[in-house]
């Protein structure tokens, strides 16, 4: 990446965008959340730390827009797993820009998401890797990779994106 290009990136803008995405999830506003994703954008939560791809190895989540849409609708239906209050509070920290070519920025950050579901609060923690595409003076999410510390461990149900 050219330093020149990099200088043009204000990490504050990136942070603000990541906060906005987290805020959509904390408000369980999937309508607004989906809008932050590119048409060919995807959300991926692998099972193993070094997982090469979402297609030939099982993942916890791998949603393209189609599945995001189904999930968005399902979230408003009567699924018995979704009649409970779903609440979260995301803290995003240690945001670092890994690369920026003037169009695509790869950004890593750490996150702690306190997630409340079925009367239990669980802390999901790990690392985000956002591939962001410049879109006017904002961004679109090309891919969000979510590596939680215990992805390969026995986990309970995950009823919403982290």
């Amino acid at each position: 990446m050219t330093t020149a290009a990099l200088e043009k990136l204000d990490i504050r803008d990136i942070e603000a965008f990541l906060y906005r995405e987290a805020d959509c999830l904390d408000r369980t506003d999937l309508d607004a959340w989906i809008e932050l994703y590119a048409e060919d954008g995807s959300y991926w939560m692998p099972v193993t730390p070094d997982q090469p791809d979402p297609f030939t190895h099982i993942s916890l989540f791998y949603d393209d827009r189609l599945l995001m849409e189904i999930r968005r609708i399902n979230f408003t239906q009567d699924a018995s797993s979704l009649i409970y209050a779903v609440r979260s509070s995301h803290i995003i920290g240690n945001v670092r820009i890994k690369s920026w070519d003037g169009e695509i920025a790869e950004v890593t950050s750490n996150f702690h998401a306190a997630f409340f579901y079925r009367g239990e609060q669980t802390l999901y923690a790990g690392r985000y890797t956002h591939t962001l595409r410049k879109n006017g003076d904002s961004w679109l999410i090309q891919r969000k990779r979510v590596d939680i510390l215990n992805a390969d461990q026995p986990l309970k149900s995950l009823v919403l994106y982290l």
Partner: protein, 438 residues
């Protein structure tokens, strides 16, 4: 420990007592009588390809290791150091020349026999004997594998694996036959899913044809609603192809039929299942015909068992190359592991379909699994109600047909429940290996 009469009173022809799901003592007895006697699936030979490769896992609550010996043979040994009982190999897979205990360094050969003891002179004149099995990581009573699927039992008197599997084996056969090379291999790490319910609720659910259209109605409707918005001319996405069948009608599932086999095994479907109308994968047919010829290929692909239950430890699909293991933790907790397989010699796209299926249906983050999970948990919770102490399994009772050792009925019958509890009662009311050993 309860006496036989107490156990017998828990199972009636058309209902089972809540205690089979709630009573910690029943759970402890199950570990000895059911999980201590049945053949339990441990893993697949492709997980331990080379000598020294091992996979450390459990049979019920017993820590064991399945390991490839120098001679290439698969050994299943207890994961316990003979010195002071330390767990020698840690969970999961690894590769070693031999086993070494981390505490005092006793070493064991890949077949579990004792290899060495540090400063052995200290054992002079103590009756210590390297050859004595009690100083080994002991072999489990029996182990064997079928088409690469490794099983073991803690019961020396258990019937042969072939006898145990019976016609359920045909599901594993078909899964493998769907590979042009006749073999499958594990594709990566499993999904692990904690369930807050008794292990039997999960196993029983897999042949419960009365629940999909209700418990999974939501995701079906959501998918329909979205599909309606999609352009009409293009074919449905594979996602829809996978999700829609879960909303099939009662008639559809009835037609599929349910089959009960000895030892509590059973399956739904046979010729027709929720997987039968998947669209074709380019190149697959040709590869199959090349290996098997057209007739045999047709025959292979025509088998479609929905879920086959290998009681008590796992379930398998054939048209989708995936198995699900249940690991009992306590009376109200178990872990479900979903493993996936590659059809050797087949287009990678079949693995992609298996993976997609499992992500959409089995994953903790799917829109299907969590609804089952919710039902199990709520069953576990309200079973304690004193208003009624029984779980009903009468549906279709008396409407079974016998075909040899198999029992058949319409798909939404409770036949599978009754068949499982018949086996459960037999396990629970016959003497344990421990008793016989004593």
């Amino acid at each position: 420990m309860y006496d036989i009469a107490h156990i017998q009173n828990l199972v009636e022809p058309n209902r089972v007592h809540r205690d089979v799901y709630l009573d910690p003592q029943i759970f402890d007895m199950e570990m000895i009588h059911v999980w201590g006697k049945a053949w339990v699936y441990l893993g697949h030979e492709s997980q331990i390809k080379n000598p020294g490769d091992y996979y450390a896992t459990t049979i019920g609550k017993e820590n064991v290791v399945m390991v490839r010996g120098k001679d290439g043979k698969v050994h299943v040994i207890h994961n316990r150091c003979a010195h002071k009982g330390v767990k020698v190999a840690t969970e999961g897979c690894g590769s070693v020349k031999g086993f070494k205990c981390p505490y005092h360094g006793w070493t064991y050969n890949l077949d579990g026999t004792l290899q060495g003891v540090p400063a052995r002179a200290g054992y002079a004149d103590t009756g210590f004997d390297m050859a004595d099995p009690k100083f080994h990581m002991q072999k489990v009573a029996q182990s064997d594998s079928y088409r690469g699927f490794v099983f073991a039992t803690l019961d020396a008197n258990a019937p042969s694996l072939k006898t145990f599997l019976g016609d359920a084996a045909a599901t594993l056969d078909n899964m493998c036959d769907r590979s042009p090379e006749g073999e499958v291999e594990v594709a990566g790490a499993p999904l692990r899913y904690i369930h807050d319910c008794n292990w039997k609720m999960f196993i029983e659910n897999l042949n419960d044809a009365m629940h999909p259209m209700v418990a999974h109605g939501s995701v079906g409707n959501s998918t329909k609603r979205l599909a309606a918005k999609l352009p009409k001319d293009v074919p449905y996405p594979r996602e829809a192809e996978i999700i829609f069948p879960f909303n099939s009608s009662y008639q559809f599932f009835d037609a599929m039929g349910v089959t009960g086999l000895p030892y509590g095994h059973g399956y739904m479907g046979g010729k027709q299942s929720i997987h039968s109308s998947y669209s074709d994968v380019p190149g697959y047919w040709d590869a199959m015909v090349k290996s098997y010829g057209e007739d045999r290929t047709k025959e292979i692909l025509s088998q479609n068992r929905h879920n086959t239950i290998f009681y008590p430890s796992f379930t398998a699909k054939d048209a989708i190359q995936a198995v699900r293991l249940v690991k009992p933790i306590s009376v109200d907790k178990c872990v479900v592991e979903s493993w996936h397989f590659r059809l050797k010699g087949a287009p990678e796209d079949l693995l992609r379909r298996t993976i997609l299926y499992s992500r959409l249906i089995n994953s903790n983050a799917s829109m299907v699994g969590p609804d089952d999970w919710d039902c199990y948990s709520r069953m576990q919770e309200s079973l304690r109600s004193d208003s009624y102490e029984w779980v009903d399994i009468r549906r279709g009772i008396g409407k079974e047909d016998h075909e040899g050792q198999a029992l058949r009925s319409f798909g939404t019958s409770d036949l599978s429940f009754r068949n499982q509890y018949k086996a459960w009662l037999a396990y629970m009311t016959t003497s344990s290996t421990k008793e016989r050993a004593a």
